[in-house]
Symmetry: C2
């Protein structure tokens, strides 16, 4: 089939949808470093992890060997409600940019959670339900993950308790309201419902909360209530595994039309979207079958890959979770208040960190006004109002397409459009009003947050 025949949007048939997740760890010569028990400094055992996470998810977390993990039929049925997601040929963007590059994006925003997060939320909720649990707990910052989990739990009839960072809870009442509509309990964090919350409030009654604190509350809630487990929306190996559905669908669609990307771009916060998108392509590269250029894009205000260190660190600021070896800014790092949108986690998925460390992937950081310029341009040309997070990938995709215009190269660029910006209009307003500014942490600031790294 010639490239002329490629439609604006490629939807796979249901029969072509993935039946298994792809586990990139199976093809990695050097596996990601194991999670460590902070008390002993030894790798966490399945039993230890089982106090916090569902059994099946623990097994997936520790599985570095099986290349494919079948997707249970119930999850496949749920996927059919909002997947396959379209692989879009950005004809309009190409034309307006006047580039010879061919641009594709995998759009994960056409579901009510507004992002790719639902792919893992339904999997985690399903395994919790299957284990006979009553419910799950989690934290949410901006609210995408909390919304996705609320939807999954609402569907399965599972109790869902979300600890939402207090300032977000107050600033984003509509995100909270979507979660409530799906039946979730949303508690502003820190709260009086947990020991750790009460302790933090006693120290600072006026605190507006942090993601680290919300994680600590959610973990405490799960581990002190019979029939509950904690779930997390990014960073972990299991989450990247579930998100491989993005990449597998994408690769199937491209193979169907004989398209091979030269460059694959994704935004990276904790790494779930990027890890999911690139995994089957990375697998080909690891097996020596083909080579690609992979680019992780992160905010200049939270530059874990480009300016962080590769070391064991706490996953949460409350230091109750296992240690992970990753590119990190130190668990004490908090992005500037001027930073809009997500991608504000201090560390990066251990899988992606290892791949980056080995030089298999590049990373770039971009400042947020440049990101919103790209977002607005894209919205007007392609008709989709992108999430600020996704717009990091748009920025670099546009930059690469402009390079092609200058060099005349007809590269094929693929990027992940993780979600929509319908709940991020406060940030767009700042941009429209010309009052958005860029913040880049100084070397001194990073040195002081590196000082929060543990000594293992």
């Amino acid at each position: 089939m010639t490239e002329n025949k490629i439609p604006y949007k490629i939807y796979l048939e249901e029969s072509e949808m993935p039946t298994a997740w792809y586990n990139v760890r199976a093809d990695m010569p050097t596996k990601p470093a194991p999670l460590l028990n902070p008390a002993t400094g030894e790798p966490c055992t399945a039993e230890e992890l089982g106090h916090v996470f569902c059994d099946e998810l623990v097994a997936q977390e520790l599985d570095n060997d099986n290349r494919y993990i079948p997707i249970p039929q119930e999850i496949r049925d749920f996927y059919k409600m909002y997947r396959p997601s379209p692989l879009v040929r950005a004809y309009c963007l190409e034309e307006k940019l006047g580039t010879p590059a061919k641009i594709y994006y995998k759009f994960e925003g056409n579901n009510t959670s507004g992002s790719h997060k639902l792919n893992s939320a339904i999997a985690q909720a399903y395994y919790a339900k299957n284990q006979g649990l009553r419910g799950v707990t989690t934290e949410t910052g901006a609210g995408q993950w909390g919304t996705a989990l609320a939807m999954a739990c609402g569907y399965l009839g599972l109790d869902c308790k979300v600890y939402m960072v207090k300032c977000s809870y107050e600033q984003k009442p509509f995100r909270r309201e979507v979660m409530r509509t799906y039946g979730a309990t949303v508690t502003p964090s820190p709260s009086m419902t947990t020991e750790v919350g009460r302790r933090i409030l006693a120290l600072d009654p006026q605190t507006t909360g942090s993601l680290g604190c919300a994680i600590s509350e959610a973990v405490e809630d799960a581990t002190t209530h019979e029939g509950y487990r904690y779930v997390l929306g990014s960073v972990l190996n299991q989450v990247l595994l579930h998100q491989s559905v993005i990449g597998v669908e994408c690769k199937t669609a491209m193979d169907k039309y004989g398209v091979v990307p030269d460059i694959i771009i994704g935004c990276a916060g904790g790494g779930s979207n990027l890890g999911g998108l690139i995994s089957p392509f990375m697998g080909e590269m690891l097996r020596g079958e083909r080579s690609y250029q992979f680019i992780a894009v992160e905010p200049a205000s939270c530059p874990s890959l480009t300016r962080g260190v590769f070391a064991y660190d706490y996953c949460d600021t409350g230091k109750v979770c296992p240690l992970a070896k990753m590119y990190t800014l130190g668990s004490g790092f908090i992005p500037s208040a001027n930073h809009a949108g997500g991608l504000r986690y201090h560390g990066m998925s251990p899988v992606l960190s290892e791949l980056y460390h080995e030089g298999l992937m590049e990373a770039r950081s971009v400042e947020q006004t440049k990101v919103f310029e790209a977002a607005e341009y894209f919205a007007r040309v392609e008709g989709i109002l992108p999430a600020p997070e996704s717009s990091h990938a748009i920025r670099v995709a546009i930059d690469e397409a402009i390079k092609c215009r200058e060099t005349g190269e007809e590269k094929t660029i693929l990027f992940g459009l993780t979600g929509t910006g319908y709940f991020d209009l406060y940030a767009y307003q700042k941009f429209n009003d010309g009052v958005m500014d860029d913040y880049v942490p100084t070397d001194e600031e990073l040195q002081s947050s590196f000082a929060t790294l543990p000594r293992v």
Copy 2:
């Protein structure tokens, strides 16, 4: 092909997308009554209408004869960015309801405007651009239409001036922000930029505005500025024509799988979505080829079909527009402040009014707490947070499916899911908090608004 093989979502191929709009008026034995010039009481001429609307749109407005009107290639290309919209088989809803009915819905919410409004917005903006105009003006209440028009104009590089009802402008800053992101100018109405706005503000400086007032301002702005025309998002014949793309796609998809609906349900405010969805099916019925049950669903708080009169009335409360013969509550009718969401127009599309008058379509009114109950149920089961407007159709679809459960009938139900509720969470919050109440106008109230009808 057997029904077993029907996927969760049916997407047409690009090659199967409509190349022409279907004009149901061509098949109506009694045509909708013409618009009248309020000064002369005579049918408006093309020349008169041309002062307000673009020439090509005037031609479409007056065309009762041509069954098919080709969709220009540029509009077809724009449609490809967000269409075809999926025809969804609601397997999950059927299962949870335990009904033998087969439920389908045509989902128009997967675009940034969040509704079907974009189908007509791009057409109207295209013809304006094609006529060499500089820009268009319009009004918006809740903001869906304004957003759609801003997107279309942003794409074509056309100036877009939106008069947004002041209370909405203040209560829905995010809707306003999406429009600004697409480059539109958004003015709270009444404003000091028009004669009519200044007059209204002089009488009542504290007024929070109304749709009727915003229409008057938008029309004045268009008719007093060189190179501008006014555009409207519903009610008019031309808008129903553009929205026929919904029904034509839907019928093509159903025909492809050999599915024939027994009941077709849509919410009805001004009638653009319902008119668009049912038109090709209604055409078959008018030509005597097949029969269907059509149900228009309106809010009990704004019951133009179920409790209005069929008469010539003003299209706007400012009485600057032509008179239309329609089911109406009187242009002085304003729904209760308790009424959430759209569907608050006092009249109904002349095409639908005529079809209803002839008994070719039924109408039901539903109270809003029942609507939000259906919305929440649907959101949890089908994973899409519906717009309050669309949820009127969901309510009746569920009611009909429950009837089938009781009678054992395996009816096929099709309804229009016009949009998403991401910008309606204030209303959801009221529902979640249990403080939403139902309001039904009394007979006395309706009599007093009927008194605002003109004597023709």
